[in-house]
Symmetry: C2
Subunit: 317 residues, 2 copies
């Protein structure tokens, strides 16, 4: 029997966002509630289920007419079995979330991680509509990625593909959280941008950054937007490393589109220009001729829209 509706749930450390679409992709209802992770996994997973009930009621849809539920979850996941192995944000260990949701709703439920779901969401509903071979890179506290091939997430042999942040771009670069040296995440993520800015700030007494007591990537971006040359240079350097990493990915994957999301992507041309310049310089000519590099479009809705896309694509297979 053909099922007409799909539900997506974005489970985050602070909020749960849930939405439902019809088979034409029209968003019929959404619900947002605080996660209240301190209540523990049983309460939180019950709350997740309650948001599903709520969107069903708001949209006036029966559970039996829903083809699939997609869930975007944080932390380390067992993707095919839908188990949250460990999530520092939620303080969860080995929570069989897929089973919990399926036992309650009797609807096939599919899981994936933040970056994969965001990539799929942008591909289906955002900046990547129409792209067949798309790479999604998110640059914020860390650098992550999602690989979309023929409109589906590419997972690799143990469901780990897309760890763009841990590509070595400088063999002798700084130590990364993963234990390796010179990962692009250790050089160009938000915290790395802040660290780079602070490192040589003493040599730049003219910089506006000296006026801040706390410096994160946000302050660096703010100062750069006010015309601060040093802050601009710090962001440009990060952009160049991101661009060189993307050039390698382009020469490897030959994608037709790169979508960049995450907080750092909000810096706009300050970071997109050096990214594009470096890609132009380092990617093979025929590969960049028809390639676009664009910012993500879905913003805070990317989790729920991506989860809906996950439900649609799994539910239609």
């Amino acid at each position: 029997m053909f099922k007409n509706y799909f539900i997506g749930v974005d489970l985050g450390g602070t909020k749960i966002a849930t939405g439902i679409v019809d088979n034409e992709g029209n968003l019929l209802a959404t619900v947002k509630v605080p996660t209240q992770a301190e209540d523990g996994w049983e309460a939180v997973s019950r709350r997740m289920g309650d948001t599903i009930d709520e969107v069903l009621i708001k949209a006036n849809v029966k559970a039996s007419d829903v083809g699939a539920i997609g869930v975007c979850a944080p932390g380390a996941l067992d993707i095919p079995n839908g188990i949250v192995l460990s999530s520092p944000n939620l303080k969860w260990h080995n929570v069989p979330l897929k089973k919990i949701i399926e036992d309650r709703f009797h609807i096939p439920t599919y899981f994936d991680n933040d970056a994969n779901v965001a990539g799929l969401g942008e591909n289906r509903f955002g900046a990547g509509i129409g792209s067949k071979h798309m790479l999604y890179m998110t640059v914020s506290t860390g650098i992550g990625g999602g690989i979309i091939v023929d409109g589906q997430i590419y997972h690799g042999s143990s469901f780990g593909a897309g760890e763009f942040g841990h590509i070595t771009i400088d063999m002798n670069g700084p130590l990364c959280g993963c234990g390796n040296y010179g990962c692009v995440e250790a050089i160009a993520s938000g915290p790395a941008i802040a660290r780079n800015a602070k490192e040589k700030l003493a040599d730049h007494p003219e910089s506006l950054l000296n006026q801040y007591t706390t410096i994160t990537a946000k302050e660096v971006s703010e100062a750069a937007n006010k015309g601060d040359a040093y802050a601009k240079e710090v962001i440009e350097t990060a952009g160049r490393y991101i661009g060189a990493t993307l050039a390698g990915l382009i020469n490897t994957f030959n994608p037709d589109l790169i979508v960049i999301g995450g907080g750092v992507s909000n810096m706009g041309e300050l970071i997109f220009k050096p990214i594009r310049d470096e890609v132009q310089k380092r990617a093979l000519g025929s590969f960049v001729a028809n390639l676009k590099i664009v910012p993500a479009k879905l913003g805070g809705e990317v989790g729920v829209m991506g989860a809906i896309a996950l439900a649609q694509s799994a539910g239609n297979v």
Copy 2:
């Protein structure tokens, strides 16, 4: 109608090798002839066709029982249309080889480039049997690659995917033939190994390499095998850069197997050890747990076996 046989043709600058298999993959007959590229494209493509006739006769198979022909061709190709756009080895420009073969034999004919075909051949018949997500890297005059996903070549948006040699591994590294700086090909290919060896040879009067008048990667390998410390170090450095590049690819693709072919891979543990050490250091733990890095197996037969695999996979679609 089910067709029982598949033919592969490896068109090289010096020889044409052609083979035929039955539907169980048994090699029934092979033919090898010199290319004699100086005779021009019409003569060479006729000669290719003649080798197809020959294997049909040797194997006692009718052309009408052949499901597909696969062709591995050198140079820049229009893969879907089977046109050799430009081949420095053959001195060809815009030769519509697919049409020529199909017009003569009325058998669907499929084309692909050396590295992709080699990757597919190793996956189907060589070191990669049983691997679902495999990366093939060839290290010789250049560094190339083939990406195998679910037993098929991944081509990307304009059939260019797999250019592993042009991944930037050192932003400030040496100039590459592609115009970029710091590509792994400019640091660790055969010619780069020879160049690196020569660059600091004057500082190593004890090195056996001083005894050679010409130094290529072969002589560096020879000296290293005789215990020359300097030659060993040069090869180890190349291996480390290859390993760091592969680690990035592993973190991106999460493959279950890496197969390394090409002349440089014949250096054995001299180069495989630093490659594996660097991968171990730089790839994410869960990604290397079940990953193997092995030398290619098919040697000089990789072109014809890969072309047969191409015919099989295209012919079975």
